[in-house]
């Protein structure tokens, strides 16, 4: 790889290599404020390489490689190098991480307690977390939350927030433009723009939080709260975990403990403001 950089997000140390300078330059800007730990070996490697050496010169496209390779990962045009790097980082963590149970869930924290939000893409979990992260909450992550099997605590993974489509306008109106990455228009996932989390979220990225609420958001429909039983929360979280099976019994123990000790609710909401109010309401009730 001609160009490379090191990025630490929560407990994960990435090494990212690229045949081109551009994606690395943008990543270095997005992750400039993150604590560096150059002495530690990388946990995961992401490589963005040219499909064929000569393609670097004519019509370049980006392939994602690293410790794990998905054979069908799309070759992306070079302008999408940043998206390729993000997909590669997600892939390495989702498939390779074993030290913690990984939940495909966003999370925010306050007063040492975490609200973990799990849902399909389009449920609004990432946007809700990003918006809450601009208020009194610490953003723990917009995509992944890690659970420490021994302690049951939640660990954050505050990568640059990947804003998609409508969420881009909603967030750009609220934040300093210096915290935004370039607009990636018309990617396979729609329009994407990255947001650097608030400084407090980055500074506290290695501080665990005790899970206090499990929420399963669903965007659309009237604002509603539905309590969820332990069994259903367990089933949904096994589906939301990318490494539950690989962890074996420690994963089973961590997940049963999580759903037993943490109140769970399904929430529906018509817009972000209503969603944030539901989170605040459930938080106030949980803290009583």
């Amino acid at each position: 790889m001609k160009h490379s950089t090191r990025i630490a997000v929560g407990p994960v140390q990435f090494r990212i290599g690229s045949d081109w300078r551009e994606p690395i330059a943008v990543l270095e800007r997005l992750y400039a404020g993150y604590p560096k730990d150059e002495d530690r070996p990388a946990d995961a490697t992401v490589n963005l390489f040219a499909a064929r050496p000569w393609r670097r010169l004519i019509r370049p496209s980006v392939h994602i490689g690293g410790d794990f390779v998905v054979p069908d990962a799309l070759p992306l045009p070079l302008s999408m190098g940043l998206l390729a790097a993000e997909m590669g980082m997600n892939l390495q963590v989702a498939l390779g991480w074993r030290r913690h149970m990984l939940l495909h869930a966003s999370a925010v924290a306050r007063d040492g307690g975490a609200v973990i939000m799990s849902g399909e893409s389009g449920s609004g979990k990432s946007t809700l977390a990003a918006l809450l992260g601009e208020s009194a909450w610490r953003l723990m992550g917009d995509e992944f939350t890690l659970i420490e099997p021994a302690s049951g605590e939640a660990l954050s993974f505050p990568r640059a927030v990947s804003l998609k489509n409508e969420a881009i306008a909603e967030m750009t109106a609220r934040v300093d433009p210096a915290r935004l990455g370039p607009l990636l228009a018309g990617t396979p996932k729609g329009d994407i723009r990255h947001l650097i989390p608030c400084a407090d979220a980055i500074a506290a990225m290695r501080e665990p939080a005790r899970p206090a609420l499990l929420l399963f958001p669903r965007f659309g429909g009237e604002a509603a709260i539905e309590p969820m039983g332990e069994g259903e929360a367990f089933v949904r979280l096994t589906e939301a975990s990318t490494n539950y099976i690989a962890l074996g019994e420690p994963g089973f123990a961590a997940l049963t403990r999580l759903v037993r000790e943490t109140p769970a609710f399904g929430i529906s909401y018509p817009d972000s403001a209503a969603g944030m109010m539901l989170v605040e309401q459930l938080w106030a009730e949980a803290m009583r």
Partner: protein, 93 residues
Amino acid sequence: MADPAYRPAPADALRVEALGELTAIFDRRSMQTHLVVSPMPEILALMGGEPCNAATLAERLAAAFDLEAEGDATAIVAERLHELAAMGLVAEA
């Protein structure tokens, strides 16, 4: 109708955790998680570590839960045992 005896899993093979109406069972041998509802956990518990058939288990269920062990109770328990065997949680003795 034949009423085969089934052997339960060794005592240390299963980790059983009740989660409200569901029960999650981790099988240390296969590393699989099984999610079951009543009467599966009750059947596993009432086997008491010994091979048993459906008729015996139907009697034990009736005694434990104050039910009438008549009619097709044995046939129903036999079906459940067959399903537990398919999951690998019990085996034909």
